[in-house]
Amino acid sequence: MDLLLSSLEILARWDVILALLVGSIGGVLIGAIPGVGPAVAIAILLPATFSMDPIVGLTVLLGIYGSSMYGGSIPAVLINTPGTAVNALTTYDGYPMTARGEPRRALSLAYSSSFFGGIFSVVCLILFAPVLAKVAPLFGSREIFLAALLGIILVIVAHRGQSLIAGALAGFGIFIQTIGLEPVKYSKRFTFDQAFLSSGIDLIVVVLGLFALSQAFVLLTSEDEKIRTTRLRGGLFQGFRELARHPRVAAVSASFGVLMGMIPGVGEFTAQFLSYTYAQKTSKRPQDFGHGSSEGLIASETSNNAVPAAAMVPLLALGIPGEALTAMMLSVFYVHNVVPGPGLFQNQMDFIVALYLALLILNVLVVLFLLVATRPLISVVKIPNRFLGLCVLTLSFVGVYSLRNSVTDCVLAAVFGMIGYVLKRLSLPVVPIILGMVLGGIMEVKLRAGMARVKEPFDFIDRPVAMILFLVIVAVLIVHARSVWLDRKSLKEAEWQTKHRSTRFGALLFRRKSSLSKARGRQVKARHSTSYRRSTGRG
């Protein structure tokens, strides 16, 4: 009770209340505009939050993170375009409902499911916090290194079909983070004797380039679309009643969201996939999924909104961000010299509970705002793409330039913007670069500290938590290798069935070689046969 009171005391400030309002309304607006996700908004706002208190800055950013998914469901339901990437599954069942004349039902169901997911996860984590406070101190340098390694491996493995390039990009991120002056031995690394590289490449410059600038380029080079939205009539309360009829689907989906959110590198997509599959398998009407099923909509919206609160667990308890948005939030902690990790759970539990309470209040604020303001919000969806690109470009400038007033930072951000643009055009992921940067830095520090007392390799995993993490890493790698092998096998079978020649470079060379050897072979054979005929006098 004392803990709750002291947490409420932290929140009872006018600037925190303002941050809650700005975060919730701003997040909904940003989510409702297709093309501007929470990552872009957080990247732009990050430097501005450095001058605020940690709780105020984090409340704004968490607000945007948590409420953007509510806003993202509006275009997903009404125009079949997800507002944020994680609302993609909402279009499956939300848009068919709109198409058959039930946009109000779909939206209210999306809001109520999101609300349930958000509240469920926050309540779970507040109850879970004392357990976490006991577990977190078991993590020393070695365990944090292994957890970060597990995080990076999970991020790479999660990009199915693209794990090789995801790994290469994570390696690129690890490399970028090492540029500059090494903090322990004070030796220069890859500075090429350039003064601007001595201080290293700032994470925020990379984040702004890869997320904000590249997205601005994508929008600016795209075509404006004519968008027709549906008129909404009546209230939006009916969703709560409908949600109450599916308590099992809602609770299981929210639990998936909480669990997947806590595992670094996994996040919303896996949570949604698991909950949607569960809902479909256990439904009495599985054939309705993808054609406007209320259970499908509940599963996707509940699970994605349960993730933000849970995603804060590895960040707060271990200092390890599981995805790009929490990686950005980590820099807010660092700027204020608050080091997230086991110490934070032991010494500043009220700060953590205050953050969770802020998320709880935020969910209530967002739902109230949406119940009142959905109709005017729909017009936000109609902002032309390229004009939006102009806005993002203008705002990106504030983010990069205000950091150090450095033109070099802006040039670097523009370069990373182009890299991000090319990666997006090639449908390659950018998130591994950011996580490589953040987790690479953590791994470097923790491995150095962890190896100090290690004499034999086995000493590194002689503690129970380290051993468990090591076994999990091995298991993840084995499962991934097996799935790659199975994929390859099925691909081979499909290739044999269609009798297409392989298009791989190695196969091309092999065919060339064999055809050459065949022609040459035929020539030699013919010459031999004539000489053979001559010598024997046959033929």
Binding site: A48, L169, Q177, K188, V398, L508
Partner: protein
């Protein structure tokens, strides 16, 4: 890939091996890990890609990349103009001209873009007090107006 290979080749000259320090604590260790992952896994990814000739569709893609480069240049021009003419005038100029370039040439759209630029400056510089220095031309303004401009616009 080529970039990664060049950097990997530069590792001995650009990093140092420190005596009496463990292998994992060497300043060279993590850059090498990153670059080896970049070169190794990137190389495997490239080797697995299907090989084909450069087609017309690829030229379209290259033109798209060039179009994005144009906007990167717009962004850099904006960056270079701000310290000279100041944040507010540069933002207005940038938003209005880029809006014109994008084809939004109606008075309404240009007015909206200018309003957006003004709102951005007021929110970030006046309210959130982000650090963006005043323009050089602000120096020519009379006393009180000058300091107001440098601080807020």
């Amino acid at each position: 890939m080529v970039f990664g290979l060049i950097l990997l080749a530069q590792t001995p000259t650009q990093t140092r091996w420190v005596a009496k320090t463990g292998f994992f604590a060497q300043p060279r260790f993590w850059p090498a890990v990153g670059l080896m992952a970049l070169v190794g896994l990137g190389g495997l990814h490239l080797a697995k890609l299907p090989w084909r000739r450069f087609t017309g569709a690829d030229w379209v893609e290259v033109r798209k990349w060039a179009a994005a480069l144009e906007y990167a240049i717009w962004f850099m021009a904006y960056v270079l103009v701000v310290p000279v003419i100041g944040y507010l005038p540069a933002s207005i100029l940038f938003a209005a001209t880029l809006s014109w370039r994008l084809g939004y040439r109606t008075t309404r759209m240009i007015a909206v873009s200018i309003l957006f630029a003004i709102a951005t400056v007021i929110v970030f510089k006046s309210f959130l007090s982000v650090k963006i220095p005043g323009g050089m031309i602000y120096e020519y303004l009379p006393g009180a107006v000058r300091s107001f401009f440098i601080l807020n616009l």
